[in-house]
């Protein structure tokens, strides 16, 4: 048994200060389990988390980048596994939170949930290390090692829902969230604040946009 929030708490205990790119219920949980300015919340379109993570991993090769993907999201962008396998960023750890449903969209089941072996596709695609967990004890034993490996690393977490966490859709689409991440990342990478923020005179389309 692996409750999602318990798994994320285990990850948070070992990954206290790094960049995290996440989607949907996993990032809603993560924002409350590990609130941090280096949480990248605004992936914009379903399926895109790992691709944003790849861009950051390439752009910041000395920083670890953890992606918290969803199973429905990854199904929508399976090709990204091959893109990442080819680009082979050593600093990328790609988790898929495999709960077998589109949880935030009404809990409707994903296709192929009984046969999907994401970790096998990732292995074939060129990830250096792949793991699959369905028990919290085993995940606890391995997480430190996983975070120390040279990537790309893929981790398939077969989870059950845990506690209920607030679904903060405003945060995952807000210009403020993006500015906070940008500032924190620039402070980390360059030791100063960003020079070019999105134009304050241009229309901000982002407010309360929940489309996918």
């Amino acid at each position: 048994m692996l409750a999602r929030d318990e798994a994320l708490k285990v990850l948070a205990a070992h990954y206290t200060d790094g960049i995290t790119v996440g989607v949907y219920q996993s990032i809603f949980d993560w924002m409350q389990i590990r609130p941090h300015p280096l949480n990248y919340l605004c992936t914009g379109a379903m399926g895109q988390a790992a691709s944003h993570g790849l861009g950051i991993a390439i752009g910041a090769p000395n920083e670890k980048v953890v992606v918290l993907d969803g199973d429905g999201s990854l199904l929508m962008n399976l090709g990204c596994l091959f893109t990442i396998g080819h680009a082979a960023p050593e600093n990328l750890v790609h988790f898929v939170i495999h709960n077998r449903t589109y949880e935030v969209n009404g809990d409707f089941p994903i296709l192929g949930s009984k046969v999907l072996l994401f970790e096998e596709i990732a292995r074939i695609a060129g990830y250096r290390h792949t793991f699959v967990f369905s028990e919290i004890v085993e995940f606890k034993l391995m997480i430190k090692h996983i975070l120390e490996l040279a990537g790309p690393v893929f981790v398939n977490l077969h989870v059950e829902p845990g506690e209920s966490y607030r679904q903060d859709y405003v945060a995952i689409h807000s210009s403020e969230s993006r500015a906070i991440f940008r500032s924190a990342l620039h402070a980390r990478l360059f030791g100063h604040q960003p020079e070019n923020e999105p134009s304050k005179t241009s229309p901000d389309y982002s407010a309360n946009e929940f489309h996918q």
């Binding site: 992936t43 379109a45 944003h52 790849l54 861009g55 390439i58 752009g59 962008n77 090709g79 070019n196």
Partner: protein, 175 residues
């Protein structure tokens, strides 16, 4: 420009403009308009990191991630892939106001100098109106002179953190 006087665009002119604009990375999916003249030469250019992708919307997100790290990139795709990626472009490039620079080959564009809005192909005719509806700044690359303004427009995209689309109307020559 009239029929039969169409100028060619050299892929090397575009590469030169990318280098001038300090573009470090090209994210690409092969497009018949730009493959021979631009993508193949880029794949051998030591100054450019090429990231091949499986689908165009991946590229929107990769360019976004790179932009947060102050790294300049362009996305090289075909107009069909542009159409397929509209949701990602809408959210990530337009609503999030990120400097996503797109080089878009118009596959099937008639080689007679007409404007894309007058193409016989629906998929090409609708590109500029869609860009306009999405408030995407758009330029046509129709000759080497128009290719040369790439670098200044890429500079602007990054200076103001805004997306920009360059439509490549004709097959690029290899040199």
């Amino acid at each position: 420009m009239t029929a039969n006087t169409l100028a060619t665009v050299k892929g090397s002119s575009i590469i030169s403009a990318l280098n001038h604009a300090s573009v470090q990375t090209v994210v690409a999916l092969p497009d018949i308009v730009t493959c021979a003249g631009l993508l193949w030469p880029l794949s051998k250019d030591p100054n450019i990191r090429l990231i091949p992708v499986c689908k165009e919307d991946e590229g929107i997100s990769i360019c976004a991630g790179l932009s947060y790290c102050n790294q300049r990139s362009v996305l090289l795709i075909q107009h069909t892939g542009f159409l397929d990626s509209l949701n990602a472009i809408r959210a990530i490039a337009v609503e999030y106001q990120l400097p996503i620079v797109m080089l878009v080959g118009l596959q099937g564009m008639e080689p007679d100098g007409r404007d894309p809005s007058e193409s016989d192909h629906l998929g090409i005719r609708i590109i500029q109106p869609i860009c306009e509806a999405m408030r995407l700044t758009t330029y046509l690359i129709i000759n080497d002179a128009s290719a040369q303004m790439l670098s200044s427009e890429i500079e602007k995209a990054y200076e103001f953190s805004q997306p920009v689309v360059f439509l490549i109307t004709q097959h690029l020559s290899a040199d």
